[in-house]
Symmetry: C2
Subunit: 213 residues, 2 copies
């Protein structure tokens, strides 16, 4: 019965992926640990050995996705483009298309868009929210760079711009992940993003911003 350490690590990841499958199909609250165990072709004993309970499995899934995001953005920020706004625009589209290709990421992300933190997941609410803020702060640095390079009106507020982008992205992802027929990343997302950035450029570029009270 006893497996080698590598094998044990492998079954742990098998359990994680099985959990993701179950959560995606039936939802977090509708999946029992036994469901996960059966999907991973182990028993609940194995699950309880690697994780203390269901919320911890959820948290493990979160971590893997978040680390991946942070890494992609951080690496992109190492390159100091002459046009930070265009760089950001390209990054966003790249992230979206990466999501579309990687089904594991898509399903994981979908989890966090529809999960209810008011139950047993409440213990992780703050942590996951903090992690989201970290990604946001990274985003805002693009706008700061653009402002420093004089490509953004001085009255523009990077925070507001980041929020705008963030809300917009959230909406797109929400619809896309929801399996909505409204949005198809290949045909729509790129145009939506471009439209948003056009708005930002036109509004904040050289002239003053017209409508902000």
């Amino acid at each position: 019965m006893r497996k080698t350490k590598e094998e044990a690590q492998k079954t742990k990841e098998t359990i994680l992926m099985a959990a993701l499958d179950c959560f995606s199909d039936q939802g977090y609250f509708n999946t029992s640990l036994d469901d996960i165990a059966k999907a991973a072709e182990v028993t609940r004993g194995a699950v309880y050995w690697h994780f203390s309970n269901k919320p911890e499995i959820f948290d493990a899934l979160h971590d893997s996705l978040h680390e991946s995001f942070i890494e992609m953005i951080t690496k992109d920020l190492e390159r100091d483009s002459s046009e930070p706004l265009r760089q950001l625009e390209e990054l966003i589209i790249k992230l979206l298309k990466d999501l579309e290709r990687n089904e594991t990421k898509t399903r994981t992300l979908k989890l966090f868009y529809h999960c209810d933190y008011s139950g047993d997941l409440n213990q992780f609410k703050q942590k996951h929210q903090d992690n989201k803020y970290k990604s946001l702060q990274l985003m805002s640095s693009y706008f700061q760079r653009a402002q420093q390079k004089g490509q953004l009106n001085k009255t523009a507020e990077p925070e507001i711009l980041t929020l705008t982008l963030h809300c917009f992205l959230k909406g797109i992802l929400y619809e896309h992940l929801n399996g909505s027929t409204l949005i198809n990343i290949n045909s729509h997302a790129e145009r939506l993003i471009k439209q948003l950035f056009n708005g930002l450029n036109d509004c904040h570029a050289s002239l003053g911003c017209k409508g902000n009270s």
Copy 2:
């Protein structure tokens, strides 16, 4: 024990509001019918008398909110403003501020942003999504009017514009309802909306749209 019809209708609504309270506090899946009954100061017998099960309570909450939204938009559409885009902008802000005031609506809406339709709620997924599309169609008619009045470039696509607005709104609401400290409707939402509409105007007004491939 037997109550009059009016009293019965009242307890039914009491149960609905109690359910909303419970769902908001503990989440849909973490509330039992007994929780709801206790919150409404009745027994589970009363709950089972008025509703066949928990999903049906959820659906009843949905209906009340949706009807309210459709009514507000439909009434606004009766007025044929000379500037449909500005009219839409004002409507959005009005809707947001109405939401902020009406806590029942806020909590109900929050339910549907975080609910997981993959479980026992799956039976209502299609219906609720269809209802969402209805509101979206109403929104797009503002853009169509603007286009007819020549206030929107002829190459602009009302559907894409509606999607843009919808995604953006979704993001704002998601953050706001999530209790995010990032967004405060009073101080932020109005500016965010104005910024978005500035983008639309600048991009699609008289000149051609620059960046759309």
